[in-house]
C-alpha cells in the first residue's frame, strides 16, 4: 500500500489516502479496519474515489471481458474496464454501448456507481437502464449477485449508490446492435439558450445524440447563444484500434490562464470559429463518441486551483424562469463562465442520481471564492425551481441542500445504513453528504 494525496478531477478537494492496487481476486479478502472505497480512473469531479485516512482500492487491473452473449445482447465485464475500451470492442463487432459518458477512460464501475448519462439521455436513459445484473463484494456480506430479479433492493441501492454498498466486481450490461461506424454531425446556430432548447425539442427524436455548447457570457437577448450539435449514426467502416490514454490527470502546477478577461474571449473565439466551420461533417464513431477526448487542454488552462462545474436539471415548466435567474446571477456576481452546455433529459428519479425530466445545464467556472458565492446562488435557484444537481460533478454541496433537492435522500441514507451499519465503504463525498 502507498499513501498519496488524491483529488477529484476538478482539483478542489484533496485528501491523503492509502492506495492499493489488487491484481487477484484473493487480494480483496485481506482485512482492514479502515474505511475503504473503490477507485476507477479518478475522473469524478468530486473526491468520490478517495477517503481521508482510509484506503482506496484501484480497480484498474480488473478490466476483463468475461462473457459476450450476442444472442441475448449482453456483455459481462469486470468493472475496472474503461468505457472506451469496451466501446472499441463492441464497435468492431457491430455493437455499441448505449450510454457513453464524455471521456473514454471512465470505468464501467464508475458509470454504475454514479448512474451516468451520455449525449443521448433523452432517448436511451441513464446507465441503470442498461445494467442487467451486478456482482457486489462487501467484507461483511461476501459476494452478492443482484439484479432486477435477485436481491433487488441491493441492486437498486448499488446503481447510483456511489460505491457505498461495496466493490462492484462484475456487471452484465445490455448492448445495442449497431453497424454504423460513422457519426454525421449537423451544427445549428442558436440565438440564445431558449432557442437551443426549442431546437432540441424539434430534433431530439430524429437524431441519436443532441447537445449544445452555449456562451453564457453573452449579454441580454443573446445570453446562451451557441451551437446545437445534432448527431446521427451513419454507415461506413472506419474502425481503428485506438488505445485511449487518460490525459485528464493534468499536472497540478500547470499555470492557469483563464480569468474574467480571457474566458469571454475564449468563448467568443470558439463561438465564431464553430459558426464559420462547415455545418455538416462526418467523423468516426470512436472519435465522435467522446467529444472531450483530444480537448483536454481546456482543463489544463484552469491551472493548479482547478475549476468547478454545476450541472443541474430543471423541469421543463421552470426552465425559462431558472434561466432568467441564472443570467441575472452571472451579471450580479460578475463571474465569467467558461462553459455552458445543454442536453434534454427524460426518465424517472432514482436514489440521489442525476435523472428526471427536463433540461440539463452544465456550467464551468474557475475555482475561486467568487465561484462558491455563485454556486450558492445557483443552489437557491435550483431549490426554488425544483431542480436537481449532478453530485458526481459537484465538490461542495452540503447535506442540508442535497436533502432538500432529492426527495429520496432520507430513504437512500436509511437503506445504506440498514445494509452496512458500520459504513465500511466511505468516501470524502459520503462524509460531505452525511450519508
Amino acid at each position: 500500500m502507498i499513501t498519496s494525496i488524491l483529488s477529484g478531477f476538478d482539483k478542489t478537494e484533496k485528501s491523503e489516502c492509502g492506495i492499493i492496487q489488487p491484481w487477484k481476486y484473493s487480494d480483496f479478502n485481506k482485512s482492514s479496519n479502515k474505511k475503504i472505497i473503490a477507485r476507477g480512473s479518478g475522473l469524478s469531479y468530486c473526491n468520490a474515489g478517495a477517503i481521508e485516512n482510509g484506503i482506496c482500492i484501484e480497480m484498474k487491473n480488473f478490466n476483463r471481458i468475461l462473457d459476450f452473449d450476442e444472442k441475448n445482447e449482453t456483455i459481462t465485464v469486470e468493472t475496472g474496464i474503461q468505457i472506451g475500451d469496451l466501446n472499441n470492442f463492441l464497435i468492431k463487432r457491430g455493437w455499441i454501448m448505449p450510454v457513453l459518458p464524455g471521456y473514454p477512460t471512465i470505468t464501467t464501475g464508475g458509470c454504475i456507481a454514479f448512474n451516468v448519462h451520455g449525449k443521448s439521455q433523452y432517448k436511451i436513459g441513464t446507465f441503470m437502464d442498461w445494467v442487467d445484473s451486478i456482482t457486489l463484494y462487501h467484507p461483511s456480506h461476501g459476494e452478492i449477485k443482484c439484479s432486477r430479479m435477485e436481491n433487488v433492493d441491493i441492486f437498486n441501492l448499488t446503481i447510483g449508490g456511489m460505491g457505498f454498498t461495496g466493490l462492484i466486481m462484475e456487471a452484465k450490461i445490455k448492448i445495442k446492435r449497431n453497424d454504423c461506424q460513422n457519426l454525421e454531425i449537423f451544427k445549428i446556430d442558436c440565438e440564445n439558450i431558449n432557442h437551443a432548447v426549442q431546437i432540441f425539442k424539434e430534433n431530439v427524436e430524429k437524431y441519436d445524440f443532441v447537445y449544445s455548447w452555449n456562451d453564457m457570457n453573452s449579454k441580454g437577448k443573446s445570453f446562451g447563444r451557441g451551437i446545437v450539435y445534432l448527431e446521427k449514426l451513419v454507415s461506413g467502416k472506419t474502425y481503428k484500434d485506438i488505445n485511449y490514454k487518460n490525459k485528464l490527470n493534468y499536472a497540478s502546477d500547470f499555470p492557469g490562464v483563464l480569468n474574467n478577461l480571457t474566458i469571454p474571449l475564449m468563448c467568443s473565439t470558439y463561438f465564431y470559429s464553430e459558426k464559420i466551420k462547415t455545418k455538416r461533417s462526418i467523423i468516426g464513431l470512436q472519435r465522435g463518441s467522446f467529444p472531450i477526448y483530444g480537448k483536454e487542454v481546456y482543463y489544463y488552462l484552469f491551472g493548479k486551483n482547478g475549476f468547478r462545474e454545476y450541472q443541474v436539471l430543471f423541469p421543463f415548466e421552470s426552465w425559462e424562469n431558472a434561466v432568467k435567474e441564472i443570467q441575472s446571477a452571472i451579471t450580479r456576481i460578475n463571474i465569467s463562465v467558461s462553459l455552458g452546455s445543454l442536453k434534454l433529459f427524460q426518465g424517472k428519479s432514482h436514489n440521489i442520481s442525476f435523472t428526471g425530466n427536463g433540461v440539463c445545464l452544465a456550467i464551468d467556472v474557475k475555482a475561486t471564492q467568487k465561484s462558491l458565492q455563485f454556486f450558492k446562488e445557483l443552489d437557491r435557484i435550483t431549490l426554488e425551481n425544483k431542480g436537481t444537481i449532478n453530485l458526481s460533478k459537484d465538490s461542495r454541496a452540503d447535506s442540508d441542500f442535497v436533502s432538500k433537492i432529492f426527495p429520496a435522500y432520507n430513504s437512500f441514507k436509511q437503506n445504506l445504513f440498514s445494509f452496512d451499519p458500520e459504513k465500511i465503504f466511505y468516501s470524502d463525498l459520503r462524509n460531505r453528504l452525511n450519508l
Binding site: 500500500m1 502507498i2 492496487q21 491484481w23 487477484k24 481476486y25 484473493s26 468475461l66 462473457d67 469486470e78
Partner: protein, 247 residues
C-alpha cells in the same frame, strides 16, 4: 501449423500481459496459475477478444514434486497438438525476505521461483527437444550480484538461471531456444508505489519484447536494455566498494 504457448504464472503482471500479447498474434494458449478464478477471467477475456483456443490449469507450482510435475506436463501436452513456446513468468517476493533466518519464507520462495519452475522446465524440455521451440524464464536484475535485501529472491533467480543454462547445455543439439530475461523494475504489484532508482517498464512492452525475441538463439536478455550497463558496473565493483552500497 497453429502455434501454442504455455505460460506459467499467467493470472497477473507480466504473465497476463504476455498471454494477451501472444493471443493477439493468433497463438493458442495453455495458461497456468495458482488461483482458478483469476485464470478463468484472463482466459475468458482472451478467448472473447482474440478468438484463440485457451486451456487453463490451476496449479500451485510450489507444491510440485517430481511425479506431479511429469504427470502435469504430460497432461498439458496431450491437450493440444503442438506446444512450441513455454514461458515461466511465475514468481514471488516477500517483504520478510531480508534475513537468512526467515526459514519459511526462504522455502516458499525457493519452491515457487526455483524448484517448481525447474521441475516443469525439465519435463517441458524433454517434450520440446525435437521441435523448433522456445523455453523462456523471467529472471531479475536482482540476480546480478547478491545483496542483503531479498536474499532468498535473488538466490532463487540465480539458481533458476543456472538450471536453465544446465538444461541448455544438456539439449545443446536440440532445436530449443533457451532464454533468460533479466528484467528491471516492471509496473506490477512488486513495484507498486515504491520509490525506485530507475524507470519502471510497462509489462506490455516487456511482453512484446519477449514474444518478438522468441526465435533468437541468444540466451540472456536485459530489459530495459540500459540494465546491461548497470549490471556490468555492479559486477566490476570491487567488494570493498560494493559492500558499502545500500540498495
Amino acid at each position: 501449423m497453429k502455434e501454442c504457448a504455455v505460460i506459467v504464472g499467467a493470472s497477473s503482471g507480466l504473465g497476463r500481459a504476455l498471454a494477451e500479447h501472444i493471443s493477439e498474434k493468433g497463438v493458442d494458449l495453455i495458461l497456468i496459475a495458482r488461483e482458478a478464478r483469476d485464470l478463468h477471467a484472463v482466459a475468458n477475456n482472451i478467448k472473447i477478444r482474440y478468438d484463440v483456443n485457451v486451456v487453463t490449469f490451476a496449479l500451485d507450482i510450489a507444491s510440485l514434486d517430481n511425479i506431479k510435475a511429469k504427470d502435469f506436463v504430460d497432461g498439458c501436452c496431450k491437450k493440444v497438438t503442438i506446444i512450441n513456446q513455454v514461458y515461466f513468468t511465475a514468481g514471488m517476493v516477500s517483504e520478510r525476505d531480508n534475513t537468512i533466518f526467515s526459514g519459511e519464507v526462504l522455502k516458499t520462495i525457493m519452491e515457487t521461483n526455483f524448484s517448481g519452475i525447474a521441475l516443469l522446465a525439465t519435463y517441458f524440455s524433454e517434450y520440446l527437444q525435437h521441435k523448433k521451440s522456445t523455453l523462456a524464464v523471467i529472471s531479475s536484475i536482482a540476480a546480478i550480484r547478491p545483496r542483503s535485501m531479498n536474499i532468498a529472491y535473488s538466490s532463487s533467480k540465480i539458481a533458476m538461471e543456472y538450471f536453465i543454462k544446465g538444461l541448455q547445455h544438456n539439449y545443446e543439439e536440440s532445436l530449443i531456444n533457451f532464454q533468460i530475461y533479466r528484467v528491471g523494475y516492471m509496473d506490477t504489484q512488486m513495484s507498486f508505489g515504491k520509490k525506485l532508482l530507475f524507470p519502471v517498464a510497462s509489462v506490455d512492452k516487456v511482453a512484446a519484447c519477449i514474444f518478438k525475441n522468441r526465435c533468437r538463439r541468444k540466451t540472456t536478455f536485459y530489459y530495459p536494455g540500459f540494465w546491461i550497463f548497470i549490471a556490468i558496473i555492479i559486477k566490476l565493483l570491487p567488494w570493498f566498494v560494493y559492500k558499502k552500497l545500500k540498495f
